[in-house]
Each structure stands twice: as C-alpha cells, then as structure tokens.
C-alpha cells in the first residue's frame, strides 16, 4: 500500500534558523496520525510544508506516490483545519462549507447536496445561514471541519484545532474527531502540544523536538517504551535517574543508581556492561510501603504526600540528591498511615523500569 504521505529528508530553514531537519517518515493510508511536541518544535511548520504554505528547503514530500512539494496549495488535494479556524467572515456557514466546491467548479446542485450532507454531519442544520461571528467556538470548529472535509481531501491536516475550546468541549470533540476519521476513512494529520489529546486519539504519534523527529510509534509504545530522555520526560510524568549498566541478559539489564542501589530495567537496544544512561520509571508503577516488600525495592525516607483525589503523590528521598515521585491510587493501598520522615520501601512493578541511553 502506498503511504498517504511520505517525507524524505525534509528540511526547512528560516534564514539562519533551522525549523526542521532530516525529517523522514511515512504516514499510512487511513491513519489518525499525530505530530506532538512543545511549541517551536517544528510540528506546525511540517504541517504547513505538507499543505503548501511554505516551501521545503530540501527533501521531498509524496502524497500517495505523487511528488507534491512544488505544487501551490490550491493544487494539492489536502485540506487544513486552521488553529483559528479562518472561517470567511463575510460568508455564512453554507457558503463557507461550499467554497472549495465552488472553486473546484462543481455544479450548483452538487454543491447544495454536498453542503447539506456536511452540515448534517456536523449537526449544524439550523445554523446554515448564520455568519461565523454568530456562532460559538465549538460551532465554528465544526464549520471549519465541515469546510475542510467537503471537497473529500485525500489527507486532512488539523493544526491544533481544539486549543481554542474549553476543557469540556475539547474532550467531547476528541471523540467526535476520532469517530469522524474512522467513518470517512480520510487520513488525518493532527498537530498538538497536548499529550493527552495525542494519546487518546492517535493511531500513531510522531514526537518532535527542536526540529527533529524523536520517536514514532503507537500511543502505547510512546508511553511504555520512550526512545530517549526527551520523550520519557515529555509524555506523562516520570522519574529520571542517572544509572550505569552492571549486568546484561538480553534486553534486561541490571543497573546501578547514583545512590548505590540496583534495579533491573528493560533497554531499547543491546547494551554493554558499563554503559551509562538513565532509568525512567513512571510514578504510577511505584508503590511505597513501610515494610520490605517481595521483589526488588529501594529504600528511602518519605518526603511530603500530596492528596490528588483519586491518587496520592508521595515524594521519597533515596539520598541527599535523589528523589522519586510515587503515585498511588487512594483506597487500594492498605491504608497504612505514612508520615513524613518515616523510613519507607519503594517497590517497582515488574518490567516497569526502562533504561534509556541518553
């Protein structure tokens, strides 16, 4: 199967600033693909290169096998949902949705029926003759979506489309977007800096930082097997501890932490004894007990405990400089009342620690 989008050695410079470099990956047909990264990482630039609003400085972009990087935006069968929606203020909802069809030279009848279909799809029937300024943010969002999907693009580009909505609406729109993508079978490329959005909707995620691709994989892979320190730190919460490998058995390594204790962790690649790196372990795969548990554990003293509703977050000091965050679900633990300063044992869920080469 030809990939929907195929990027090869893509580079973009703005003067002396390198916005993107050496970006090479494929996006499959019918995929909900997310570009995730902090602001300034180049994800929006990459989207604009695919849309055609910017020219690549080097590299090629293929859309279903066809080279597109030299085509102007109006010749590329991809459409964009803009961050600020960019709805045409002087046109009503129906005119906005029908704009691309008119530009493509569809007949009036075809336009009317397609626009009706799209308006039904986003459930805006009663608003067809309103101007964008008379709509709420969520409704404008739907119009933008309908407008971009009306001409049946091969790929739909979404530039942080949910960032202007309030939390409730944002969560609701996540589900709707996902459903829409599955029903229409259009390839979605979704740009966001919100990891929760990325994890909950995507088939695959590309994590980007400083103009470079950091990791590409399913939400589960990205979260469970981060490729490097940046990804581990950016996605979810984690404890990062400097460590060195003392024993290797396949991908399972035993490593020594800075405070002298050892833990076993899974590594991404084959490693040699003595290799230096970091151990990443998520707070929720750790638990604190007053007595020594079965299996591997670390010893420390309890710092503060922060009650967070469903969870409690503990800080445990392993030594002067080393501390761990531990997150435990309330009500599941035996209710042992722990107080700050108590000596405690921190146990690690089997297979939860990752060794990352920096």
């Amino acid at each position: 199967m030809t990939p929907a989008i195929s990027l090869s050695q893509v580079r973009k410079d703005f003067g002396k600033f390198i916005a993107l470099s050496d970006v090479t990956f494929d996006i499959s047909d019918n995929e909900f693909f997310t570009l995730l990264g902090p602001s300034g990482c180049g994800k929006t630039t990459l989207l604009r290169l695919i849309a055609g609003f910017e020219d690549t400085s080097a590299g090629t972009i293929h859309l279903y096998g066809e080279e597109i990087e030299n085509l102007p935006p109006d010749k590329r069968p991809v459409n964009t949902v803009f961050q600020n929606y960019a709805l045409f203020p002087h046109m009503n909802v129906a005119q906005n949705i029908g704009f691309a069809l008119k530009m493509l030279g569809w007949s009036t009848d075809e336009i009317t029926s397609r626009v009706d279909e799209m308006i039904d799809m986003v459930r805006l029937g009663e608003f067809a003759h309103r101007k964008p300024s008379q709509l709420s943010g969520g409704q404008q969002q739907r119009v933008a979506l309908a407008r971009a999907m009306a001409p049946r693009p091969k790929v739909l580009l979404l530039d942080e489309p949910l960032s202007a909505l309030d939390l409730k609406l944002r969560q609701q729109m996540r589900g709707e977007l996902k459903t829409l993508q599955r029903e229409t079978g259009i390839t979605f490329i979704f740009v966001t800096h919100d990891q929760e959005e990325a994890l909950s909707m995507s088939d695959r995620i590309a994590v980007m930082s400083a103009g470079k691709l950091q990791q590409i994989g399913s939400p589960n892979e990205i979260y469970e097997f981060p490729a490097n320190r940046f990804v581990a730190d950016f996605i979810g919460e984690t404890n990062l501890i400097d460590a060195s490998v003392t024993q290797v058995s396949g991908r399972r390594v035993t490593c020594k932490l800075a405070d002298g204790e050892t833990i076993t962790a899974l590594a991404h690649q084959d490693l040699q004894i003595g290799a230096a790196g970091i151990v990443s372990v998520r707070p929720e795969s750790l638990s604190v007990t007053p007595t020594a548990p079965m299996g591997q554990s670390l010893t420390g003293t309890l710092g503060d405990a922060v009650y967070l509703g469903t969870d409690t977050q503990f800080t445990v000091h392993l030594d002067q400089s080393l501390e761990l965050k531990v997150r435990m679900q309330n009500g599941v633990t035996d209710g042992a009342k722990l107080t700050a300063g108590d000596p405690v044992f921190v146990s690690i869920a089997d297979g939860a620690a990752r060794f990352l080469v920096d």
Binding site: G52, N84, A86, P89, S133, P151
Partner: protein
C-alpha cells in the same frame, strides 16, 4: 494616587477651545446663513429667500457652474476609481509581499505626496506636462488627480489590510482558490470597508482640489473650485455663497457616509483569531 490626567483642568482650556471653534467654523456658518439672504448685497440682511439657490441653477452663471460641476464630478469619480485600484494593489504588495529590497523606500514614495507642499507639486506637474508636451485640459487634470489621490486612498486601505490575518488567504488557497479567486472572493470583501473609505477620501480630495488643478487645467477648462475662484475675482455675489453651501453639504454627506462605513467596519472588525 495622582489624579488622572485630564486636559480640561488646564487653565484657559475653555477659552482656547472656543476661540479655535469660532475661527474654524464662524466663516462657514456666516456663508451658510447669508446664502439664504434675499438681498443682492453680501453684507446687508434682506430676509430669508432661496433666490440665490435658484440663481445657481438658472442664473446667468448657471451654465458655467453646471459644466464645472460636471467636470469636477466626472474627474473625481474617475480619479478616485483609478487611484483606489492602484492604492489597493500597492497595499497588497507592501503588506503581503513579504520583505523585499526597497520596501521602506517604496513606502516613502507612496506617502511622500501628502508631505510635499501642494504648490510644489503643482508647479512640478505643470513643468513636467509642458516638458513632455502633454496637452493641458481635462485629461491632464485627471492624470494629476489620480497621482495625488493615491496616498490618500492608500492610508485607510493599508490600515485595514494590516488588521487582516494572512490565514484567510491561506484558507482560500487551501480550498482550491487561485490567487485571483482568493483576492476576488475572500480578500477584497474583507478589505471592503477600507477600500470604500479610501475611495471616498480620494473622491473628496479630488473634488476639492484647487491649487494643482488651477495650474494645469489649461485654458477654458474649469472645475467647480476654479470656477468659483474665477467668479469671486470679479466680486463676490451671493450665488457663490449658495454654491459653496451646496458643495459643503455634499462633502459633509460623503464624510458622514465614510464615517458610518468605517463604523460598520469597526462593528465588523477584520476578524482576529
């Protein structure tokens, strides 16, 4: 907390304001009042009458004024249309053209005519036209008006365009609109209020111009301002007051129209984010 700055607390503010208003508007008001004077004298009040308004349209000078008014209006419409078109193109080039060499110089060139004393422009234009052998007449007036109206049309148009985010044009292109269709269906309608105020401003400036027109109008061609000036040289008759009042009313109407279009533009500001 210091008291908030309020200009009204300055001593003498009220007196100065009154003096300015009187100096600015008293002559206009006197002209308006005396345009309704029944007397043939311009200083003695002889009762209320519309006879000088009738005289403007039917009196001995009426043919001269009608022709001059027609010249003025047709030149103003054409000059405003052409200069607005050029100013719109200039604004798009300046604001959407990215960074290009000589951008500041271009901006200076566009707005310089506002700063240059009009008499200098008038003399220079006259010399230029006679050097290249351009026959003075209606056409020379039109060309000169187009040129000096451009900066006036440019200002409101570029101000409006500056407030319009580029994402509307990107969206249009993304939705398969060519460059021309993007301008025609998206950019121009959003710029509309700016283009209209630019047009009205250029229209008024052209209609009102005396100095440049007087230099380059050639023999026998008159616009309203030059015709009025010509009549006044032979002594002020009350019909000039009536004519001036009509011109004033026309200008006020246009300015008011322009104001309300601007208002509508504000109520419908160039949409942001």
């Amino acid at each position: 907390m210091t008291r908030p700055f309020d200009i009204r607390h300055y001593r003498g503010f009220f007196a100065v304001t009154c003096a300015c208003l009187v100096i600015l508007y008293a002559p206009l008001i006197i002209v308006m009042i005396y345009s309704f004077n029944d007397s043939a004298s311009i200083t003695n009040w002889g009762g209320v009458s519309l006879r000088w308004y009738v005289d403007v349209f039917t009196g001995p000078d009426s043919e001269k004024f009608k022709l001059a008014a027609w010249n003025s209006l047709s030149i103003a419409v054409m000059a405003a249309t052409v200069s607005t078109t050029i100013a719109t193109a200039a604004a798009i080039g300046m604001i959407r053209g990215g960074q290009f060499k000589g951008k500041s110089a271009s901006f200076a060139l566009i707005s310089l005519p506002i700063m240059v004393p009009e008499i200098v422009t008038a003399v220079a234009t006259l010399i230029f036209f006679s050097t290249i052998g351009f026959k003075l007449g209606t056409l020379s007036i039109l060309v000169a008006h187009i040129v000096f109206c451009i900066p006036f049309a440019y200002l409101p148009i570029s101000a409006r365009l500056q407030g319009i985010e580029a994402s509307f044009e990107e969206a249009a292109q993304d939705l398969y609109a060519s460059r021309w269709a993007t301008f025609r269906y998206v950019l121009m309608p959003i710029m509309g209020p700016g283009i209209l105020s630019g047009f009205l401003l250029a229209f008024i400036i052209s209609l009102d111009d005396f100095i440049i027109t007087n230099f380059i109008k050639g023999a026998g061609v008159e616009t309203l301002p030059t015709a009025i000036f010509g009549s006044v040289k032979q002594g002020i008759k009350p019909n000039i007051m009536a004519l001036s009042t009509l011109l004033l009313m026309f200008s006020i109407c246009l300015v008011t129209l322009s104001y309300f279009i601007g208002k509508r533009g504000e109520a419908n500001p160039p949409p942001q984010t």
